[in-house]
Protein backbone atom coordinates (compact mmCIF):
# COMPACT_ATOMS: atom_id res chain seq x y z
CA UNK A 1 0.00 0.00 0.00
CA UNK A 2 1.47 3.22 -1.18
CA UNK A 3 -0.55 5.68 0.85
CA UNK A 4 -3.82 6.42 2.61
CA UNK A 5 -5.87 8.83 0.57
CA UNK A 6 -9.28 10.39 1.09
CA UNK A 7 -10.86 12.72 -1.43
CA UNK A 8 -13.37 15.56 -1.16
CA UNK A 9 -14.72 16.17 -4.64
CA UNK A 10 -16.61 19.39 -5.42
CA UNK A 11 -18.67 19.32 -8.58
CA UNK A 12 -20.69 22.13 -10.17
CA UNK A 13 -24.26 21.00 -10.69
CA UNK A 14 -25.89 21.59 -14.07
CA UNK A 15 -28.55 24.08 -12.99
CA UNK A 16 -29.66 27.18 -14.86
CA UNK A 17 -29.54 29.37 -11.76
CA UNK A 18 -27.45 29.54 -8.60
CA UNK A 19 -28.17 27.62 -5.41
CA UNK A 20 -29.62 30.50 -3.39
CA UNK A 21 -30.59 33.10 -5.99
CA UNK A 22 -31.85 33.36 -9.55
CA UNK A 23 -28.58 34.50 -11.10
CA UNK A 24 -27.56 32.54 -14.21
CA UNK A 25 -24.74 30.04 -13.80
CA UNK A 26 -23.18 30.14 -17.26
CA UNK A 27 -20.10 31.95 -18.58
CA UNK A 28 -20.37 35.73 -18.55
CA UNK A 29 -18.46 38.98 -18.23
CA UNK A 30 -17.00 39.34 -14.72
CA UNK A 31 -19.58 40.20 -12.09
CA UNK A 32 -22.47 40.15 -14.55
CA UNK A 33 -24.20 37.12 -13.01
CA UNK A 34 -24.66 38.79 -9.64
CA UNK A 35 -27.42 40.13 -7.43
CA UNK A 36 -27.71 41.39 -3.87
CA UNK A 37 -28.13 37.83 -2.58
CA UNK A 38 -24.97 36.27 -4.00
CA UNK A 39 -23.03 39.46 -3.27
CA UNK A 40 -24.04 39.20 0.37
CA UNK A 41 -25.73 42.57 0.55
CA UNK A 42 -27.19 43.41 3.99
CA UNK A 43 -30.90 42.68 4.00
CA UNK A 44 -30.69 39.89 1.41
CA UNK A 45 -31.76 36.33 2.18
CA UNK A 46 -31.15 33.00 0.38
CA UNK A 47 -33.83 31.21 -1.69
CA UNK A 48 -33.20 27.50 -2.28
CA UNK A 49 -33.07 26.09 -5.83
CA UNK A 50 -35.21 22.93 -5.96
CA UNK A 51 -33.47 21.45 -8.98
CA UNK A 52 -30.14 21.56 -7.15
CA UNK A 53 -31.70 19.37 -4.46
CA UNK A 54 -33.01 16.98 -7.10
CA UNK A 55 -29.59 16.68 -8.73
CA UNK A 56 -28.02 16.13 -5.32
CA UNK A 57 -30.53 13.36 -4.66
CA UNK A 58 -29.69 11.71 -7.99
CA UNK A 59 -26.00 11.72 -7.07
CA UNK A 60 -26.75 10.27 -3.66
CA UNK A 61 -28.92 7.50 -5.11
CA UNK A 62 -26.37 6.68 -7.81
CA UNK A 63 -23.75 6.26 -5.07
CA UNK A 64 -26.08 4.02 -3.07
CA UNK A 65 -26.34 6.43 -0.14
CA UNK A 66 -28.94 6.84 2.59
CA UNK A 67 -30.90 10.06 2.17
CA UNK A 68 -31.60 12.37 5.12
CA UNK A 69 -35.30 13.03 5.79
CA UNK A 70 -34.82 16.81 5.50
CA UNK A 71 -32.61 19.21 3.63
CA UNK A 72 -31.07 21.55 6.19
CA UNK A 73 -28.32 24.07 5.69
CA UNK A 74 -25.66 25.47 8.00
CA UNK A 75 -23.35 28.47 8.05
CA UNK A 76 -19.63 27.73 7.93
CA UNK A 77 -17.86 30.89 9.08
CA UNK A 78 -14.42 32.01 8.01
CA UNK A 79 -12.97 35.22 6.60
CA UNK A 80 -11.65 35.10 3.05
CA UNK A 81 -12.03 37.51 0.15
CA UNK A 82 -13.78 34.91 -2.03
CA UNK A 83 -16.60 34.66 0.53
CA UNK A 84 -19.22 37.41 0.03
CA UNK A 85 -20.80 36.83 3.44
CA UNK A 86 -17.65 35.52 5.15
CA UNK A 87 -19.65 32.41 5.77
CA UNK A 88 -20.53 29.69 3.33
CA UNK A 89 -24.01 28.17 3.31
CA UNK A 90 -23.32 24.45 3.34
CA UNK A 91 -24.57 21.33 5.11
CA UNK A 92 -22.94 20.32 8.35
CA UNK A 93 -24.99 18.41 10.92
CA UNK A 94 -27.31 16.82 8.47
CA UNK A 95 -25.82 16.25 5.00
CA UNK A 96 -28.09 15.31 2.14
CA UNK A 97 -26.89 11.69 2.21
CA UNK A 98 -24.43 9.37 3.94
CA UNK A 99 -22.98 5.89 3.74
CA UNK A 100 -22.60 5.02 0.06
CA UNK A 101 -19.88 3.66 -2.20
CA UNK A 102 -18.42 3.60 -5.70
CA UNK A 103 -17.31 0.28 -7.14
CA UNK A 104 -13.99 0.23 -9.02
CA UNK A 105 -13.80 -3.27 -10.42
CA UNK A 106 -13.40 -5.43 -7.34
CA UNK A 107 -12.39 -2.49 -5.13
CA UNK A 108 -15.10 -0.67 -3.19
CA UNK A 109 -14.40 2.95 -2.26
CA UNK A 110 -16.78 4.03 0.49
CA UNK A 111 -18.50 7.40 0.33
CA UNK A 112 -18.88 9.04 3.71
CA UNK A 113 -21.23 11.82 2.74
CA UNK A 114 -22.81 13.74 -0.13
CA UNK A 115 -23.97 17.27 0.49
CA UNK A 116 -24.87 20.57 -1.19
CA UNK A 117 -23.11 23.89 -0.74
CA UNK A 118 -22.47 27.17 -2.52
CA UNK A 119 -19.28 27.90 -4.42
CA UNK A 120 -17.17 30.90 -3.42
CA UNK A 121 -16.08 33.62 -5.84
CA UNK A 122 -13.12 33.46 -8.19
CA UNK A 123 -9.91 35.19 -7.15
CA UNK A 124 -7.24 36.53 -9.47
CA UNK A 125 -3.92 37.13 -7.78
CA UNK A 126 -2.35 40.14 -9.46
CA UNK A 127 1.39 40.45 -9.70
CA UNK A 128 2.23 37.01 -8.36
CA UNK A 129 0.84 33.71 -7.10
CA UNK A 130 -1.34 33.03 -4.11
CA UNK A 131 1.48 33.69 -1.67
CA UNK A 132 3.15 36.73 -3.20
CA UNK A 133 0.58 38.72 -5.17
CA UNK A 134 0.33 42.50 -4.85
CA UNK A 135 -3.45 42.58 -4.64
CA UNK A 136 -6.47 40.52 -5.58
CA UNK A 137 -9.26 40.89 -8.14
CA UNK A 138 -12.58 39.24 -7.35
CA UNK A 139 -15.20 37.93 -9.78
CA UNK A 140 -18.42 36.90 -8.05
CA UNK A 141 -20.00 35.16 -11.06
CA UNK A 142 -19.09 31.84 -9.50
CA UNK A 143 -20.20 32.83 -5.98
CA UNK A 144 -23.35 30.92 -5.13
CA UNK A 145 -23.15 28.35 -7.94
CA UNK A 146 -24.41 25.02 -6.55
CA UNK A 147 -21.83 22.39 -5.68
CA UNK A 148 -22.32 18.82 -4.69
CA UNK A 149 -19.53 17.66 -2.41
CA UNK A 150 -18.69 13.96 -2.33
CA UNK A 151 -16.44 12.88 0.53
CA UNK A 152 -14.80 9.45 0.54
CA UNK A 153 -13.48 7.43 3.42
CA UNK A 154 -9.66 7.17 3.28
CA UNK A 155 -9.99 3.94 1.31
CA UNK A 156 -7.88 4.93 -1.69
CA UNK A 157 -4.48 3.29 -1.65
CA UNK A 158 -2.47 4.92 -4.41
CA UNK A 159 -2.46 7.72 -6.94
CA UNK A 160 -3.56 5.52 -9.84
CA UNK A 161 -6.57 4.40 -7.85
CA UNK A 162 -7.36 8.01 -7.02
CA UNK A 163 -7.34 8.85 -10.72
CA UNK A 164 -9.49 5.83 -11.52
CA UNK A 165 -11.95 6.81 -8.81
CA UNK A 166 -12.28 10.34 -10.14
CA UNK A 167 -12.71 9.17 -13.71
CA UNK A 168 -15.42 6.71 -12.71
CA UNK A 169 -17.12 9.28 -10.52
CA UNK A 170 -16.99 11.84 -13.32
CA UNK A 171 -18.51 9.30 -15.68
CA UNK A 172 -21.34 8.51 -13.28
CA UNK A 173 -22.03 12.20 -12.76
CA UNK A 174 -21.99 12.79 -16.48
CA UNK A 175 -24.50 10.00 -17.03
CA UNK A 176 -26.69 11.55 -14.34
CA UNK A 177 -26.75 14.77 -16.31
CA UNK A 178 -25.61 16.78 -13.31
CA UNK A 179 -22.07 17.39 -14.48
CA UNK A 180 -20.60 18.66 -17.71
CA UNK A 181 -17.03 17.40 -18.14
CA UNK A 182 -16.16 20.04 -20.73
CA UNK A 183 -16.78 22.86 -18.27
CA UNK A 184 -13.60 24.51 -17.12
CA UNK A 185 -12.83 24.06 -13.46
CA UNK A 186 -16.16 22.42 -12.85
CA UNK A 187 -14.59 19.70 -10.70
CA UNK A 188 -12.25 20.52 -7.81
CA UNK A 189 -10.66 18.17 -5.35
CA UNK A 190 -9.26 18.47 -1.85
CA UNK A 191 -7.12 15.47 -1.04
CA UNK A 192 -6.05 14.14 2.34
CA UNK A 193 -2.84 12.12 2.10
CA UNK A 194 -0.73 10.28 4.59
CA UNK A 195 1.94 7.61 4.22
CA UNK A 196 2.82 4.75 6.52
CA UNK A 197 1.19 6.06 9.70
CA UNK A 198 2.54 9.59 9.23
CA UNK A 199 0.63 12.82 9.65
CA UNK A 200 -2.26 13.65 7.39
CA UNK A 201 -1.67 16.47 4.93
CA UNK A 202 -4.45 18.25 3.08
CA UNK A 203 -3.85 19.46 -0.47
CA UNK A 204 -6.56 21.91 -1.40
CA UNK A 205 -8.27 23.10 -4.53
CA UNK A 206 -6.80 20.85 -7.23
CA UNK A 207 -8.57 21.27 -10.55
CA UNK A 208 -8.92 18.35 -12.98
CA UNK A 209 -8.10 14.64 -12.84
CA UNK A 210 -4.64 14.96 -14.29
CA UNK A 211 -3.58 17.53 -11.71
CA UNK A 212 -4.95 15.40 -8.89
CA UNK A 213 -2.75 12.55 -10.04
CA UNK A 214 0.26 14.87 -10.33
CA UNK A 215 -0.37 16.47 -6.96
CA UNK A 216 -0.81 13.15 -5.19
CA UNK A 217 2.27 11.64 -6.81
CA UNK A 218 4.35 14.58 -5.72
CA UNK A 219 2.91 14.58 -2.22
CA UNK A 220 3.40 10.86 -1.65
CA UNK A 221 7.01 11.08 -2.76
CA UNK A 222 7.55 14.16 -0.61
CA UNK A 223 6.16 12.48 2.47
CA UNK A 224 8.05 9.24 1.91
CA UNK A 225 11.31 11.08 1.37
CA UNK A 226 10.80 13.02 4.55
CA UNK A 227 10.05 9.84 6.47
CA UNK A 228 13.06 8.09 4.97
CA UNK A 229 15.29 10.94 6.11
CA UNK A 230 13.81 10.79 9.59
CA UNK A 231 12.09 14.17 9.19
CA UNK A 232 8.64 14.89 10.58
CA UNK A 233 5.83 15.50 8.16
CA UNK A 234 3.74 18.26 9.73
CA UNK A 235 0.00 18.18 9.68
CA UNK A 236 -0.82 21.09 7.40
CA UNK A 237 -2.68 22.45 4.42
CA UNK A 238 -0.86 22.67 1.11
CA UNK A 239 -1.62 24.11 -2.29
CA UNK A 240 -0.78 22.44 -5.61
CA UNK A 241 0.98 24.64 -8.12
CA UNK A 242 -0.06 23.25 -11.51
CA UNK A 243 2.66 25.18 -13.32
CA UNK A 244 5.55 23.68 -11.37
CA UNK A 245 3.96 20.38 -10.31
CA UNK A 246 4.79 20.77 -6.62
CA UNK A 247 2.74 21.22 -3.47
CA UNK A 248 3.42 24.29 -1.38
CA UNK A 249 2.66 24.82 2.29
CA UNK A 250 -0.21 27.25 2.92
CA UNK A 251 -0.64 27.09 6.63
CA UNK A 252 0.08 24.79 9.53
CA UNK A 253 -2.88 22.98 11.00
CA UNK A 254 -2.24 22.08 14.60
CA UNK A 255 -5.92 21.71 15.27
CA UNK A 256 -9.03 21.38 13.18
CA UNK A 257 -10.26 24.65 11.71
CA UNK A 258 -13.00 26.11 13.86
CA UNK A 259 -15.81 27.15 11.56
CA UNK A 260 -18.31 27.93 14.31
CA UNK A 261 -21.19 26.19 12.56
CA UNK A 262 -24.76 27.28 13.20
CA UNK A 263 -27.90 26.13 11.45
CA UNK A 264 -28.73 28.59 8.64
CA UNK A 265 -31.46 30.67 10.31
CA UNK A 266 -32.67 32.27 7.07
CA UNK A 267 -33.82 28.89 5.77
CA UNK A 268 -36.34 26.43 7.13
CA UNK A 269 -35.94 22.71 6.59
CA UNK A 270 -37.21 21.20 3.35
CA UNK A 271 -38.79 17.77 3.59
CA UNK A 272 -37.44 15.03 1.31
CA UNK A 273 -40.81 13.37 1.08
CA UNK A 274 -40.94 9.78 -0.20
CA UNK A 275 -43.15 10.81 -3.13
CA UNK A 276 -40.66 13.44 -4.21
CA UNK A 277 -37.71 11.07 -3.87
CA UNK A 278 -39.57 8.38 -5.80
CA UNK A 279 -40.32 10.85 -8.57
CA UNK A 280 -36.66 11.85 -8.76
CA UNK A 281 -35.55 8.20 -8.69
CA UNK A 282 -37.88 7.39 -11.55
CA UNK A 283 -35.88 9.83 -13.65
CA UNK A 284 -32.59 8.08 -12.87
CA UNK A 285 -30.80 7.65 -16.19
CA UNK A 286 -28.82 4.57 -17.16
CA UNK A 287 -25.55 4.46 -15.25
CA UNK A 288 -22.18 3.40 -16.73
CA UNK A 289 -21.97 -0.12 -15.27
CA UNK A 290 -25.42 -0.99 -16.53
CA UNK A 291 -24.73 0.63 -19.89
CA UNK A 292 -21.63 -1.51 -20.38
CA UNK A 293 -23.69 -4.62 -19.76
CA UNK A 294 -26.51 -3.49 -21.98
CA UNK A 295 -24.38 -2.51 -24.96
CA UNK A 296 -22.70 -5.92 -24.88
CA UNK A 297 -26.06 -7.71 -24.61
CA UNK A 298 -27.94 -5.56 -27.04
CA UNK A 299 -25.32 -5.27 -29.77
CA UNK A 300 -23.47 -8.53 -29.31
CA UNK A 301 -20.10 -6.86 -28.74
CA UNK A 302 -17.47 -7.93 -26.25
CA UNK A 303 -17.47 -6.68 -22.67
CA UNK A 304 -14.06 -5.21 -23.33
CA UNK A 305 -15.21 -3.14 -26.31
CA UNK A 306 -18.35 -2.10 -24.49
CA UNK A 307 -16.22 -0.97 -21.58
CA UNK A 308 -13.91 1.05 -23.77
CA UNK A 309 -16.84 2.80 -25.44
CA UNK A 310 -18.70 3.63 -22.23
CA UNK A 311 -15.59 4.72 -20.33
CA UNK A 312 -14.80 7.17 -23.10
CA UNK A 313 -17.79 9.21 -22.00
CA UNK A 314 -21.47 9.68 -22.63
CA UNK A 315 -20.94 11.27 -26.03
CA UNK A 316 -19.01 8.22 -27.22
CA UNK A 317 -21.60 5.63 -26.23
CA UNK A 318 -24.31 7.79 -27.75
CA UNK A 319 -22.25 8.06 -30.93
CA UNK A 320 -21.91 4.29 -31.03
CA UNK A 321 -25.61 3.66 -30.62
CA UNK A 322 -26.53 6.31 -33.17
CA UNK A 323 -24.12 4.71 -35.63
CA UNK A 324 -25.65 1.28 -35.00
CA UNK A 325 -29.02 2.71 -35.90
CA UNK A 326 -27.62 3.65 -39.31
CA UNK A 327 -25.56 0.53 -40.15
CA UNK A 328 -26.55 -3.12 -39.96
CA UNK A 329 -23.49 -4.62 -38.26
CA UNK A 330 -22.96 -3.31 -34.70
CA UNK A 331 -19.95 -5.54 -34.14
CA UNK A 332 -18.20 -4.02 -37.13
CA UNK A 333 -19.16 -0.54 -35.99
CA UNK A 334 -17.69 -1.24 -32.56
CA UNK A 335 -14.55 -2.60 -34.06
CA UNK A 336 -13.96 0.42 -36.27
CA UNK A 337 -14.91 2.82 -33.52
CA UNK A 338 -12.58 1.34 -30.94
CA UNK A 339 -9.68 0.38 -33.16
CA UNK A 340 -9.51 3.26 -35.61
CA UNK A 341 -11.74 6.22 -34.79
CA UNK A 342 -10.92 6.49 -31.08
CA UNK A 343 -7.24 6.00 -31.80
CA UNK A 344 -7.29 8.94 -34.21
CA UNK A 345 -9.22 11.11 -31.81
CA UNK A 346 -6.79 10.36 -28.98
CA UNK A 347 -3.81 11.00 -31.22
CA UNK A 348 -5.19 14.41 -32.12
CA UNK A 349 -6.21 15.14 -28.51
CA UNK A 350 -9.84 15.56 -29.54
CA UNK A 351 -12.93 14.57 -27.66
CA UNK A 352 -15.68 13.19 -29.81
CA UNK A 353 -17.91 16.14 -29.03
CA UNK A 354 -15.42 18.77 -30.09
CA UNK A 355 -14.49 16.87 -33.24
CA UNK A 356 -16.49 17.08 -36.45
CA UNK A 357 -17.21 13.35 -36.78
CA UNK A 358 -20.84 12.36 -36.94
CA UNK A 359 -22.55 8.95 -36.90
CA UNK A 360 -23.98 9.54 -40.41
CA UNK A 361 -20.58 10.26 -41.91
CA UNK A 362 -18.70 7.68 -39.85
CA UNK A 363 -20.76 4.80 -41.20
CA UNK A 364 -19.98 6.00 -44.75
CA UNK A 365 -16.55 4.44 -44.31
CA UNK A 366 -18.14 1.03 -43.88
CA UNK A 367 -20.72 1.60 -46.59
CA UNK A 368 -18.02 2.57 -49.09
CA UNK A 369 -16.17 -0.68 -48.40
CA UNK A 370 -19.37 -2.69 -48.73
CA UNK A 371 -20.17 -0.98 -52.04
CA UNK A 372 -16.77 -1.87 -53.38
CA UNK A 373 -15.84 1.76 -53.93
CA UNK A 374 -12.73 1.64 -51.77
CA UNK A 375 -10.62 -0.99 -50.10
CA UNK A 376 -10.56 -1.59 -46.38
CA UNK A 377 -6.97 -0.49 -46.30
CA UNK A 378 -7.82 2.84 -47.89
CA UNK A 379 -10.73 3.28 -45.54
CA UNK A 380 -8.36 2.89 -42.57
CA UNK A 381 -6.04 5.49 -44.07
CA UNK A 382 -8.93 7.88 -44.58
CA UNK A 383 -9.91 7.81 -40.93
CA UNK A 384 -7.25 10.28 -39.86
CA UNK A 385 -8.20 12.85 -42.46
CA UNK A 386 -11.89 12.36 -41.75
CA UNK A 387 -11.37 12.88 -38.03
CA UNK A 388 -9.20 15.93 -38.63
CA UNK A 389 -11.50 17.66 -41.10
CA UNK A 390 -14.95 16.15 -40.59
CA UNK A 391 -15.37 16.00 -44.35
CA UNK A 392 -17.68 13.07 -45.10
CA UNK A 393 -15.74 10.07 -46.46
CA UNK A 394 -17.93 9.90 -49.59
CA UNK A 395 -16.96 13.49 -50.34
CA UNK A 396 -13.28 12.76 -49.71
CA UNK A 397 -13.35 9.80 -52.06
CA UNK A 398 -15.14 11.79 -54.76
CA UNK A 399 -12.97 14.91 -54.39
CA UNK A 400 -9.76 13.00 -54.76
CA UNK A 401 -10.90 10.29 -57.07
CA UNK A 402 -10.02 7.66 -54.53
CA UNK A 403 -12.41 5.02 -55.76
CA UNK A 404 -11.15 1.56 -56.55
CA UNK A 405 -9.55 1.32 -59.95
CA UNK A 406 -11.14 -0.93 -62.51
CA UNK A 407 -9.34 -3.95 -63.96
CA UNK A 408 -8.57 -2.13 -67.26
CA UNK A 409 -6.72 0.61 -65.28
CA UNK A 410 -4.99 -1.89 -63.01
CA UNK A 411 -3.62 -4.14 -65.74
CA UNK A 412 -1.08 -1.62 -67.14
CA UNK A 413 0.26 -1.02 -63.61
CA UNK A 414 0.56 -4.75 -62.98
CA UNK A 415 2.35 -5.18 -66.31
CA UNK A 416 4.68 -2.29 -65.52
CA UNK A 417 5.56 -3.61 -62.07
CA UNK A 418 6.28 -7.08 -63.45
CA UNK A 419 8.46 -5.60 -66.21
CA UNK A 420 10.37 -3.39 -63.79
CA UNK A 421 11.06 -6.07 -61.19
CA UNK A 422 12.79 -8.94 -62.98
CA UNK A 423 14.53 -10.04 -59.83
CA UNK A 424 11.30 -10.68 -57.99
CA UNK A 425 9.84 -12.36 -61.00
CA UNK A 426 12.83 -14.73 -61.20
CA UNK A 427 12.47 -15.43 -57.44
CA UNK A 428 8.87 -16.34 -57.99
CA UNK A 429 9.75 -18.54 -60.94
CA UNK A 430 12.42 -20.14 -58.80
CA UNK A 431 9.80 -21.26 -56.28
CA UNK A 432 9.66 -18.34 -53.86
CA UNK A 433 5.91 -17.92 -53.89
CA UNK A 434 6.08 -15.04 -51.41
CA UNK A 435 7.77 -12.91 -54.04
CA UNK A 436 4.32 -12.16 -55.40
CA UNK A 437 3.53 -10.33 -52.17
CA UNK A 438 6.39 -7.97 -52.84
CA UNK A 439 5.06 -7.30 -56.30
CA UNK A 440 1.60 -6.85 -54.78
CA UNK A 441 2.93 -4.23 -52.40
CA UNK A 442 4.54 -2.35 -55.28
CA UNK A 443 1.29 -2.28 -57.22
CA UNK A 444 -0.74 -1.09 -54.24
CA UNK A 445 1.75 1.68 -53.60
CA UNK A 446 1.54 2.94 -57.11
CA UNK A 447 -2.26 2.95 -57.14
CA UNK A 448 -2.35 4.49 -53.69
CA UNK A 449 -4.26 1.53 -52.29
CA UNK A 450 -7.08 2.04 -54.70
CA UNK A 451 -7.32 -1.67 -55.30
CA UNK A 452 -8.28 -4.76 -53.43
CA UNK A 453 -5.27 -7.00 -52.64
CA UNK A 454 -6.92 -10.22 -53.78
CA UNK A 455 -7.90 -8.66 -57.10
CA UNK A 456 -4.35 -7.40 -57.65
CA UNK A 457 -2.92 -10.78 -56.73
CA UNK A 458 -5.01 -12.61 -59.32
CA UNK A 459 -4.02 -10.05 -62.00
CA UNK A 460 -0.34 -10.54 -61.07
CA UNK A 461 -0.60 -14.32 -61.30
CA UNK A 462 -2.29 -13.96 -64.68
CA UNK A 463 0.52 -11.70 -65.89
CA UNK A 464 3.23 -13.97 -64.53
CA UNK A 465 1.52 -16.85 -66.21
CA UNK A 466 1.43 -14.92 -69.49
CA UNK A 467 5.09 -14.27 -69.04
CA UNK A 468 5.53 -17.93 -68.71
CA UNK A 469 6.97 -17.53 -65.25
CA UNK A 470 5.01 -19.98 -63.19
CA UNK A 471 6.90 -21.91 -60.56
CA UNK A 472 7.98 -25.41 -61.45
Amino acid sequence: MEATIGLEVHVHLATASKLFCGCPTGEAEPNLNTCPICLGYPGSKPMVNGRAIEQGVLVALALDCRLAPYVRFSRKSYFYPDMPKNYQITQYEEPLATGGHLQLGDRRIRVRRVHLEEDPARLIHVGGGITDAKYTLIDYNRAGVPLVEIVTEPDIRDTAEARAFLEKLGLVLEHLGVYDPSGEGSLRVDANVSVEGGQRVEVKNITGFRNVERALSYEVVRQRSAAAMGLDVSRETRHFDAATGVTVSLRKKEMEDDYGYIVEPDLVRIGLKPEWVAEIASRMPELPDRRIERLAEQYGISGFQSGVIVNAGLAMSRFYEASCALYRDPVRVASWLVTYLMKSLNYMGLGIRESKVRPETFVELLELIDEGVISERLAKELVKEYVGTGVPPRTLVEMRGLGLMGVEDLRPVVEAVVRENPGAVEDYAGGRVKAVEYLLGQVLRRVEARARPDEVRSLLLEELCRFGKLPR
Binding site: G22, N31, T34, V48, H125, R269
Partner: protein, 59 residues
Protein backbone atom coordinates in the same frame (compact mmCIF):
# COMPACT_ATOMS: atom_id res chain seq x y z
CA UNK B 1 -22.67 37.61 30.21
CA UNK B 2 -20.71 34.51 31.01
CA UNK B 3 -23.21 34.02 33.83
CA UNK B 4 -25.81 33.57 31.14
CA UNK B 5 -23.83 30.65 29.81
CA UNK B 6 -23.71 28.90 33.16
CA UNK B 7 -27.38 29.61 33.78
CA UNK B 8 -28.22 27.54 30.74
CA UNK B 9 -26.26 24.65 32.20
CA UNK B 10 -28.65 24.41 35.10
CA UNK B 11 -31.67 23.74 32.91
CA UNK B 12 -32.59 20.15 32.26
CA UNK B 13 -33.11 19.76 28.54
CA UNK B 14 -32.84 16.00 28.20
CA UNK B 15 -35.09 14.80 25.43
CA UNK B 16 -35.77 18.32 24.21
CA UNK B 17 -35.17 19.13 20.56
CA UNK B 18 -33.57 22.46 19.62
CA UNK B 19 -35.90 25.06 18.07
CA UNK B 20 -34.05 26.66 15.17
CA UNK B 21 -37.12 28.81 14.54
CA UNK B 22 -39.91 29.64 16.97
CA UNK B 23 -42.70 28.83 14.54
CA UNK B 24 -42.63 25.53 12.71
CA UNK B 25 -42.64 25.83 8.96
CA UNK B 26 -41.50 23.68 6.12
CA UNK B 27 -39.67 25.20 3.20
CA UNK B 28 -40.72 25.17 -0.42
CA UNK B 29 -37.77 25.43 -2.81
CA UNK B 30 -38.00 27.62 -5.88
CA UNK B 31 -37.89 26.51 -9.50
CA UNK B 32 -34.62 26.64 -11.40
CA UNK B 33 -35.18 29.70 -13.61
CA UNK B 34 -32.39 32.08 -14.43
CA UNK B 35 -33.69 35.56 -13.55
CA UNK B 36 -30.90 38.13 -13.95
CA UNK B 37 -31.02 41.11 -11.61
CA UNK B 38 -30.88 44.43 -13.44
CA UNK B 39 -28.48 46.55 -11.39
CA UNK B 40 -24.99 47.97 -11.01
CA UNK B 41 -23.07 45.78 -8.54
CA UNK B 42 -20.24 48.32 -8.30
CA UNK B 43 -22.34 51.27 -7.14
CA UNK B 44 -21.53 50.88 -3.45
CA UNK B 45 -17.87 49.95 -3.75
CA UNK B 46 -14.84 52.21 -3.74
CA UNK B 47 -12.50 49.40 -4.72
CA UNK B 48 -13.20 48.55 -8.34
CA UNK B 49 -10.90 47.81 -11.28
CA UNK B 50 -12.65 47.47 -14.62
CA UNK B 51 -15.31 44.87 -14.05
CA UNK B 52 -13.63 43.34 -11.01
CA UNK B 53 -13.78 44.17 -7.34
CA UNK B 54 -10.37 44.93 -5.90
CA UNK B 55 -9.27 43.39 -2.65
CA UNK B 56 -6.07 43.26 -0.63
CA UNK B 57 -3.53 40.48 -1.17
CA UNK B 58 -4.14 37.26 0.72
CA UNK B 59 -1.01 36.79 2.82
Amino acid sequence: MLDAFSELDAVDTSGVEPSYHPVAAEGVPRGDEAKPWDWDPFLNSGHVEGRHFRGPRIT
